[in-house]
């Protein structure tokens, strides 16, 4: 049920322990037909390598870009994506859902 996300958090720990810069992105709320449930993770390293998903693939690019900034300044960010968002055409959810994603640096 939760195996893949659990593996992702284990991987995040091992990335950090081997000295890589790491950000963890987590779906904190969804509205409408969001593709990934609350609690889903995407982990990103300083090189932009990532594992897991917070959507069906539609917003991962933007989350990874934000994660690079979070890794740089250490301040967590709460991102919103959805059809009502101004960025919808660029990074919207084709399914018509709305999600919020917390991105934080692993310190």
């Amino acid at each position: 049920m939760l195996a893949s996300d659990d593996d992702i958090l284990r991987e995040a720990q091992s990335w950090r322990e081997t000295g890589r810069a790491v950000a963890v992105a987590t779906v904190v709320s969804t509205w409408g037909s969001a593709p990934r449930p609350v609690g889903s993770h995407l982990v990103i390293d300083g090189e932009g390598l990532f594992l897991g998903s917070v959507s069906g693939g539609c917003v991962e690019g933007d989350v990874v870009a934000e994660a690079i900034d979070v890794i740089a300044d250490g301040a967590p960010r709460l991102l919103e994506f959805g059809v009502a968002d101004a960025t919808a055409w660029r990074a919207g959810l084709s399914c018509g859902g709305h999600i919020r994603v917390l991105v934080e640096r692993l310190d």
């Binding site: 939760l2 950090r16 692993l106």
Partner: protein, 240 residues
């Protein structure tokens, strides 16, 4: 997120204990948030204890408002296991269906002619008596137990162990009459009515299932409800 917190989340997971990461989400104009790890054993000491406990029980993450701030409760719970007692025809249908639901299935039966890998390809088998195998298997709050042998000598050993453990689901195959006799035997072992009320019997939701596969569907639906529904509604729905 602190690395030490993440390490604790992973360690609790490996020990098959539920744990929550509670985050005060950053407000729109502020770039900060605070975070704490709450282990299942410490949940009562937390200001949001009751809410966190319910999230842990249901294995569900979510947000809520508290003191004018938005709080995110991320739960990390161990993989849910299903122990099938009885390597019987129903178990042959149940095992692959349960795997599709993401349950870690194990089949126990001391009768080696039943607990045969040819009958259960790719399913972990315990060809042993419950009294011998269950101490190592370690029944816990994230384990469901289905008693399916129709053999009190086998089922009862597993039932005693399940009633002594915090298993979130216990189901037992057999008619109401069979179950009444089962309850008498358990009462003789010292179990109270409250313990016996935990047993779902006859097993499965009443969908008039006939075939082994249909019975498997009814059992799995009951397990999903026991896991996911809120306790009040579960009582009404499960009719346990």
């Amino acid at each position: 997120m602190r690395l030490a917190d993440l390490a604790l989340l992973n360690a609790e997971y490996d020990a098959r204990r539920a744990v929550a990461l509670v985050t005060d989400l950053p407000a729109k104009d502020k770039k900060s948030s605070t975070q704490r790890v709450v282990r299942a054993a410490d949940v009562e000491d937390d200001p949001l204890g009751g809410i966190i406990a319910e999230h842990l029980r249901a294995g569900r993450s979510g947000t809520l408002e508290h003191d004018g701030r938005e709080v995110f409760i991320a739960v990390r719970v161990p993989p849910v296991r299903l122990l099938l007692v009885g390597a019987v025809h129903i178990s042959q249908a149940l095992a692959p269906m349960a795997a599709m639901l993401g349950l870690d299935v194990t089949v126990l039966d001391p009768r080696t002619a039943f607990a045969d890998p040819k009958r259960f390809p790719n399913v972990p088998l315990l060809p042993a008596w419950p009294d011998d195998a269950l101490p190592a298997y370690a029944l816990d709050a994230f384990t469901a137990v289905a008693l399916l042998t129709h053999e009190p000598r086998i089922d009862d050993q597993a039932l005693v162990a399940a009633l002594r453990a915090p298993c979130f689901y216990i189901g037992a195959l057999g008619s109401r009459k069979t179950h009444a006799r089962r309850c008498e035997r358990m009462a003789e072992q010292g179990f109270a009515q409250g313990d016996l009320d935990r047993i779902h019997a006859p097993i499965g939701l009443d969908i008039a299932a006939v075939s082994p596969a249909e019975i498997a569907v009814s059992v799995l639906a009951q397990i999903v409800a026991a896991r996911r529904r809120k306790p009040m509604r579960a009582a009404a729905c499960l009719g346990a």
